[in-house]
């Protein structure tokens, strides 16, 4: 067997600081990347939601803003919408802020009570059902029970069987949703009848309208989700509904998606900045550490050249070592970032926040990035050293 590089030389002695240096750089990259992933998921989730359905509200402002905007959408209007050609289903909904003091401000942290008419299937093509992490989904006949979004439940330390007060009424938690990293994480899902009760308790004007007999209970809807038949153009259908049904506000999925992207342009720019910064900091730290580690061994290269090593021999050995060292540093950096992120998120989650999203693609990218960049940096340093004569390399390293 020819004399070759031994396995233990792939992780040679004296590389502890190099591995630590790489780990710090990779940890920075992963942490910044995880924040970017978190923002991306939020934006993509919202976009996916609005592109999956046509949202219709009654004409006027009604209560709240943002998701809760719109006047009453009566049962008659919902029937009219359902009759528009191309509509596959209409689900009446009541959506309102849990805390009325925040109702005038659409915030990223707003908690919402979301009542759905589960006697019809969820029309949203991208969310046919909301996946449940624990317990069970909400059912049509449910009353005074709720299924909570992941952050809603975690921030209040609620689980299946817990009791929670929504608008002054006690509800039993029967399920907790999977984390979606977008709006439903802050939802309390209830039956539409329970949502209507909460609305009536909250808004005295509605009670007076009921007393006058001008409203029926199933007229109490803040909006409706509209689905379309296969092959139907959703934007065209939305315009058809707008043209056919009087006094409703119809969101055009394509337009609302564009508006959503415009309104989140700041976050997209932030995302780009964070990503660039992460790559720059992590990349510079990593390549600098590996290059310095190779240059520190310049004397060893001189000795090896004196013993007959060719450029190819040296390159192969250094790349072998760089692979071991940068892989160790990369994995250590990922673990370090996971540790820091988990510690920070453990605190943040008490406020219903999560700052980091360590997606598998991010972690895989970080490890591959560290190995590839480590290899390139090592190859660059080796080729620089290989230009020197053996005597010069020994002199410089001594």
């Amino acid at each position: 067997m020819p004399v070759g590089v031994k396995l233990r030389e792939l992780l040679p002695r004296g590389y502890t600081f190099t591995v630590v240096g790489i780990a710090v750089g990779v940890a920075g990259l992963v942490a910044l990347g995880a924040m970017a992933e978190r923002i991306t998921r939020f934006i993509e989730g919202g976009d996916r939601f609005v592109l999956g359905q046509i949202s219709v509200a009654g004409e006027g402002m009604g209560m709240g803003t943002g998701f809760t905007a719109g006047g009453l959408l009566s049962a008659a209007k919902i029937a009219e919408i359902a009759a528009v050609p191309g509509v596959s289903g209409v689900q009446a909904q009541v959506m309102m802020p849990l805390n009325t003091s925040t109702s005038q401000f659409l915030t990223l942290t707003q908690e919402l009570v979301f009542g759905m008419d589960l006697s019809v299937p969820i029309p949203n093509r991208h969310y046919r059902e909301l996946p449940v992490r624990a317990g069970r989904p909400l059912r049509a006949a449910d009353r005074r029970v709720t299924v909570l979004g992941a952050d809603f439940a975690t921030s209040r330390k609620l689980g299946v069987g817990s009791s929670v007060a929504l608008g002054g009424q006690d509800f039993t938690v029967v399920g907790v949703l999977d984390k979606t990293f977008t709006a439903p994480d802050r939802f309390a899902l209830v039956s539409i009848d329970d949502a209507r009760d909460l609305w009536l308790r909250r808004d005295p004007l509605l009670v007076q309208a009921f007393g006058a007999g001008s409203l029926r209970r199933n007229d109490l809807n803040t909006g409706a989700a509209v689905g379309w038949k296969d092959g139907e153009d959703p934007d065209a259908l939305a315009r058809r509904i707008q043209a056919t049904v009087a006094k409703v506000n119809v969101t055009i999925p394509g337009e609302i998606s564009r508006l959503l992207r415009q309104s989140t342009a700041f976050f997209s720019a932030l995302l780009l900045g964070i990503g660039t910064l992460g790559l720059l900091i992590g990349g510079l730290s990593l390549s600098n550490t590996v290059t310095a580690a190779v240059f520190e061994r310049i004397r060893d290269f001189g000795v090896k050249r004196a013993l007959g090593a060719t450029d190819l021999h040296l390159l192969r050995e250094v790349l072998g070592e760089a692979l071991g060292v940068s892989l160790s540093g990369g994995v250590a950096g990922v673990l370090l970032a996971l540790g820091i992120g988990t510690a920070v998120d453990t605190r943040a989650i008490r406020e219903g926040q999560q700052l980091f999203l360590f997606s598998p693609r991010l972690l895989a990218f970080a490890v591959v990035f560290s190995v590839v960049l480590g290899g390139l940096a090592a190859a660059y340093a080796t080729l620089r050293i290989a230009r020197l004569s053996p005597a010069e390399a020994i002199r410089r390293g001594s």
Binding site: V3, G4, V303, K304, L307, G308, T310, S389
Partner: protein, 224 residues
């Protein structure tokens, strides 16, 4: 003739771009089995001469022949082959690799010439046994004394049985007892194996035992 050098010259560039001539047109020859000592004051160019002959750096002018091959004009890759197979080096500061054990340092010489690993290991251990450092085979250089390190370095230099061994002040960092061991080995190399040895030394007793002494004075050679 094992080694022939003709018209070797070398000039270094000093601070501020000043030129520092070190060697001027050196001619020399070394036969197989001959031990040639090179002496001279510090800065006379002894180490540079050994570096040029050992292909550790290129001369500005002149040529070097090993046997029938003009090695000074070979390409980089071919010079690597010559260094690995035909020249052994013993340095004053040992130059062992800190991350490797004593045995692995010795075997490093075999790695780049494609020798069989088992065969190289057997021979390395035999050499270390003869030099009295076999019991230190698994130790790292930092765990060895200066004398032991130089004996390990000597084993590395001769593992591939090179026809030419260059020793640059090999006893410079050793006490008399350990210096004698190394000098004895260099003499044995020349006498028993027919190896050509060039030895840069300040030790009078080393020069006295040499077959020939070359004296360098301000980069010029004077045979004594």
């Amino acid at each position: 003739m094992l080694l022939r050098a003709r018209g070797l010259s070398k000039t270094f560039t000093g601070p501020g771009g000043t030129l520092v001539p070190v060697l001027h047109g050196i001619d020399l020859e070394v036969k197989g089995g001959e031990l040639v000592a090179v002496s001279g004051v510090s800065g006379s160019g002894k180490s540079t001469l050994l570096n040029l002959i050992g292909l550790l750096e290129p001369p500005d002018a002149g040529e070097i022949w090993l046997g029938d091959e003009r090695v000074s004009h070979l390409g980089r890759r071919a010079q690597c082959r010559v260094r690995g197979a035909s020249i052994g080096y013993v340095f004053q500061s040992f130059l062992l690799l800190a991350g490797l054990t004593a045995l692995d340092n010795v075997m490093l010489a075999a790695r780049y010439v494609g020798r069989d690993r088992a065969d190289a290991r057997r021979e390395a251990l035999g050499l270390m046994e003869r030099l009295g450092v076999a019991h230190r085979a698994t130790h790292h250089p930092a765990q060895l004394s200066g004398g032991e390190q130089q004996r390990v370095a000597f084993c590395r230099a001769v593992l591939n049985r090179p026809p030419l061994v260059l020793a640059d002040e090999p006893t410079g960092n050793l006490d008399d007892e350990h210096a004698r061991v190394i000098l004895d080995e260099l003499h044995a190399l020349a006498a028993d194996r027919g190896t050509g040895v060039m030895l840069v030394t300040h030790r009078t007793e080393a020069s006295a035992r040499a077959d020939r002494v070359l004296r360098l004075d301000q980069g010029r050679l004077a045979t004594r």
